[in-house]
Amino acid sequence: MANTVIAQGITIEGELTSEEDVVIQGTLRGKLVSKDTVNVESGAIVEADIAASSLSVGGHITGNVTASDRVDLMPGGRLIGDVKASRLTIADGASFKGNVDMDV
């Protein structure tokens, strides 16, 4: 099955709507709505609000994040923005600045 990958040298600006998993290794500016998981890998830079079923943050995200399932901030990951998810993990080494609402 095709997996959507935004590779490292690529910058996407705009609104991205997805029905499937998204892996971001490059730069995304705008808005991302996914019905499935979003994986922001180390080295990725995202300046966008993200809505997903679950989100894994290994890179830099500036924007509000809403997940229907869970949000995981990995070591080295950095999130500046609000999180709205029923489950949240912030690993040792992750950086986070924002509000958390788990009452989803």
Binding site: T4, A7, I10, E15, S18, E19, E20
Partner: protein
């Protein structure tokens, strides 16, 4: 070390894609694409954008101009409404195209390389012509353009022929694309 960027089948992007690296599009895109690598538009993709890349290979539907520095190739199943521009242009049997076709160097170098391009364009155009499937409306536009072009190029200035703006044609094209994609 850039991997291939894949815009999967369930994706709809409204915006631009820029950067270095190769891009494979299987979903829907509205906007514009400008990358330094190779762009492959897979079967089932719907691209409503101008695409500028080093090389473009099309198997899906595109409404927009394709500019491939090293070349543009339309494979069978490709449906393109837009202008093709590249060093070499290939249109496989079964591909549908409506727009102008121009081989030769990129506009930036066109002044200097004009005579060289004219020499290249002449055999390339003649060789490509019999292979291309020629849909009726496009034939009229291309038929007028092709034999005249090599001679006219040497005398023409850097600005190429103006793109044909035919509202009726555009409307029909969209309906035809929709019909064919069903």
């Amino acid at each position: 070390m850039a991997d291939v960027t894949v815009v999967g089948q369930g994706i709809f992007l409204r915006g631009s894609i820029r950067g270095e690296g190769d891009v494979e599009i299987r979903g829907r895109i509205e906007g514009d694409i400008e990358v330094g690598g190779e762009v492959t538009i897979a079967d089932g993709a719907l691209v409503k954008a101008d695409v500028t890349a080093r090389r473009i290979v099309v198997r899906g539907a595109v409404a927009g101009n394709l500019t491939g520095e090293d070349g543009v190739r339309l494979e069978q199943g490709a449906r393109v409404v837009g202008d093709l521009r590249g060093a070499t242009i290939g249109v496989a049997e079964g591909a549908l195209v409506r727009g102008t076709v121009q081989t030769g160097n990129a506009p930036a170098e066109r002044g200097r390389a004009r005579t060289a391009a004219a020499r290249e364009a002449k055999p390339a155009a003649r060789a490509a012509e019999p292979r291309k499937p020629v849909p009726a409306p496009a034939a009229a536009a291309k038929g007028n353009g092709l034999p005249r072009r090599p001679a006219a190029i040497a005398q023409e200035e850097r600005t190429g022929p103006p793109p044909p703006v035919v509202p009726a044609l555009k409307k029909g094209a969209r309906a035809a694309l929709r019909k064919r994609s069903r």
